[in-house]
């Protein structure tokens, strides 16, 4: 179960209400973005943001602030309050908000919910079931409805809703513990449930987990340090070694290749410098129809004991097996994934999703990106976002996002591409192509929502050392292994 910190915004400030009473608010902070960043830094994996003014008035009041938060932090955000028509909901979902929470519209506009589900997917729609003494409350909890909760749940099921946010108004802001009985009753109807209201301590969290909640929204208890977050999963720094005829090479947009040394010697050096992982891409492989070097995998595995990925010209399950046996931890697939998507599901089934990386070569085309294969030389006509979603469905475990527009240009990562891929799939994302300075890495993590950042020539040339980069990221509140 996940702990989801709550940020309730009233008049631009972070507040907590007592039992939903707008007259009984405590202001904790006047800067919601700062609060959001603090939660991220403390290890939140997701945020819950409510536009209280919006909930009360029926239209968004703090939308700009909320979208700014969603765009400036690298974890998913769910937003509620004043989302009463399709356009507003779509606006949020198209501008970086991962999930929206619908309350009031549930009573009188199931058509809108249906439309949202078909456009954005049911996983991005949460319906709030807010209750007061067993009755459904809406409109910022100011209106008590006569319709029974049972009837509403039945309707929602038919509409295709799968996730509910369940809050007991009487409990909210009280630190009196959640209403477990209410949640249990609703759980029986087989919904995914995020519980809110009254969560005060670790025992409450344990209870919610035990009964089968997916998440718990925690507000006051976090602001008052009764519950603390701690997620220590670090962002990974990955040097990439492009291999051509057994040597490390560097070039711009896969062209004008220059020798950059022996792969194993470089691998050892990077391991010593604190690289979190290594990626070897045999860029000659696909074009020259040559198999990736098993020998290289063996040599690298002998010398270093951090994870490494190998890619380039890998075509068959046999190739994958051989490389894994040689010591590779993950296999990156590009051309083969396009030509023969089945290989992804077969490999995931045999070896586990965790070792299947999709190396996506994407190039800007109109308002989206096109997938390229054969070391970035061949356009496929496939849309990169659609393709990535398909790969995730087939069982890929990670996406390595290369931008052909940015590769070797040192003009920074393609943040929009990273955001688009990151919000399309629930997989770890490695940002690649375009790093020119240390700030670019920070932007890829903070704005691009990347889980790992990869660069090649910048490291090979000695312009930026891994140590220096990691220190810089840590100084900017990024979780880093030093």
């Amino acid at each position: 179960m996940i702990i989801i910190p709550a940020i309730d915004i009233l008049n631009g400030q972070c507040v907590r209400l007592f039992q939903g009473d707008y007259n009984k608010s405590i202001t904790y902070n006047n800067n919601p973005l700062k609060t959001a960043k603090r939660f991220v830094q403390e290890g939140a994996l997701s945020l819950h943001i409510i536009d209280l003014d919006g909930a009360k008035t029926g239209q968004p009041v703090n939308m700009d602030t909320i979208i700014k938060i969603a765009k400036n932090i690298n974890i998913p955000v769910q937003v509620g309050g004043g989302i009463r028509n399709y356009q507003i909901a779509a606006n949020y979902l198209e501008q970086g908000v991962k999930k929206i929470i619908l309350g009031t519209v549930v009573i009188n506009n199931q058509t809108m919910i249906k439309k949202l589900i078909s456009k954005f997917g049911t996983e991005r729609i949460i319906v709030a079931i807010d209750t007061d003494k067993g009755k459904l409350v809406t409109n910022g909890w100011q209106v008590i409805n006569s319709i029974s909760i049972k009837t509403i749940l039945k309707k929602l099921k038919q509409t295709g809703v799968t996730t509910l946010l369940v809050t007991d108004k009487q409990k909210d802001g009280t630190l009196n513990g959640p209403n477990l009985t209410l949640i249990k009753t609703i759980l029986k109807q087989k919904f995914n449930i995020i519980a809110a209201g009254g969560v005060a301590n670790n025992k409450d969290l344990k209870n919610l987990k035990k009964i089968g909640c997916l998440g718990a929204v925690v507000g006051k208890a976090l602001y008052e340090n009764k519950i603390t977050l701690s997620n220590n999963l670090t962002k990974r720094v990955i040097p990439c070694l492009d291999i051509n005829n057994g040597r490390v090479v560097k070039g711009i947009k896969f062209k004008n290749l220059q020798d950059a040394g022996d792969p194993v010697a470089l691998a050892k050096k990077y391991n010593k410098d604190g690289a979190d992982e290594l990626v070897f891409l045999d860029i000659s492989a696909t074009v020259q129809k040559r198999k990736t070097q098993i020998e290289l995998a063996k040599r690298v595995a002998k010398e270093i004991n951090i994870p490494f990925t190998i890619g380039g010209g890998i075509k068959t399950l046999g190739d994958i097996r051989e490389l894994l046996l040689a010591g590779a931890d993950k296999i990156a697939l590009n051309t083969a994934a396009v030509k023969n998507p089945k290989i992804i599901s077969q490999a995931a089934k045999q070896f586990g999703s965790q070792c299947i990386v999709i190396s996506l070569d994407a190039k800007r085309k109109n308002n989206s990106w096109e997938v390229y294969t054969n070391s970035g030389t061949k356009a496929t006509g496939l849309n990169a976002i659609v393709f990535t979603k398909k790969m995730a469905k087939l069982g890929a475990g990670e996406i390595l996002v290369n931008s052909l527009d940015r590769d070797g240009t040192k003009s920074g990562y393609d943040i929009k591409l990273l955001q688009a891929i990151g919000s399309a799939v629930n997989l770890p994302i490695i940002a690649s192509s375009g790093a020119g300075k240390k700030e670019d890495f920070l932007t890829a993590i903070e704005k691009g929502q990347a889980d790992a950042i990869l660069a090649a020539s910048l490291f090979h040339s000695g312009e930026l050392s891994i140590k220096k980069l990691k220190k810089y990221l840590q100084n900017n509140n990024i979780n880093i292994r030093l």
Binding site: L45, G327, N426
Partner: protein, 194 residues
């Protein structure tokens, strides 16, 4: 002699390379006889639960492993297989440690991939020279939910899960010590010294 169980499901080169670095004697085997004779056993984990259990059954190792009395280390999938049941491929496992193996819910990114801290919950010889601030490398979509108090370290990823367990001579670690740089080698050294 340490026996590294080969169940033909994936990468075991990483663990053997690490053992070579530590200069310990080992044999990679799927032979029940050799496994019974070993004075320590490492059960590496790569691949999937269903396929791995099928391979173990082929060699009757599913019957032999629960009876092992020497120190036994299950890594990642090797730890998960020690439990009763895994949601991965709906697999009945070795039933050495009571509890189930569950999938992370999609509230977090799956797999849990990268370097994470482990919080030491119980002292163990495995933790010699290792502290709560050290990082280990994880890569998994499923986690162990033990029924009993076997957790010796936990990690937070959308909630606490068992990063390491111990029941009698059976140890399990969810992370990959063989891929966790110097800290990982320390842990393997500690196991070899048991």
């Amino acid at each position: 002699m340490i026996a590294v169980i080969n169940y033909h499901a994936g990468n075991i080169a990483s663990i053997t390379n690490a053992l070579r670095k530590l200069k310990v004697d080992f044999v990679v085997t799927d032979d029940p006889k050799k496994i019974k004779q070993a004075d320590k056993i490492i059960f590496p984990g790569v691949g999937r639960a269903g396929a791995a259990m099928r391979e173990l059954k082929k060699r009757k190792l599913n019957k032999i492993l629960p009876k092992i009395k020497v120190p036994f280390l299950g890594i990642c999938l090797g730890m998960q297989l020690l439990f009763d049941y895994s949601e991965e491929d709906n697999t009945n496992c070795l039933k050495i440690i009571p509890g189930a193996v569950k999938k992370f819910t999609d509230e977090v990114k799956i797999p849990h991939l990268g370097w994470n801290k482990v919080e030491i919950k119980k002292s163990s010889l495995l933790w010699k020279n290792i502290t709560t601030n050290d990082y280990f490398y994880f890569i998994h979509s499923f986690y162990c939910a033990p029924k009993n108090k076997v957790v010796i370290a936990s990690t937070n990823y959308g909630g606490q899960f068992a990063a390491a367990v111990q029941k009698n001579n059976f140890y399990g670690v969810q992370f990959h010590p063989e891929k966790s740089s110097k800290t990982g080698l320390k842990l393997l050294r500690n196991f070899c010294n048991l």
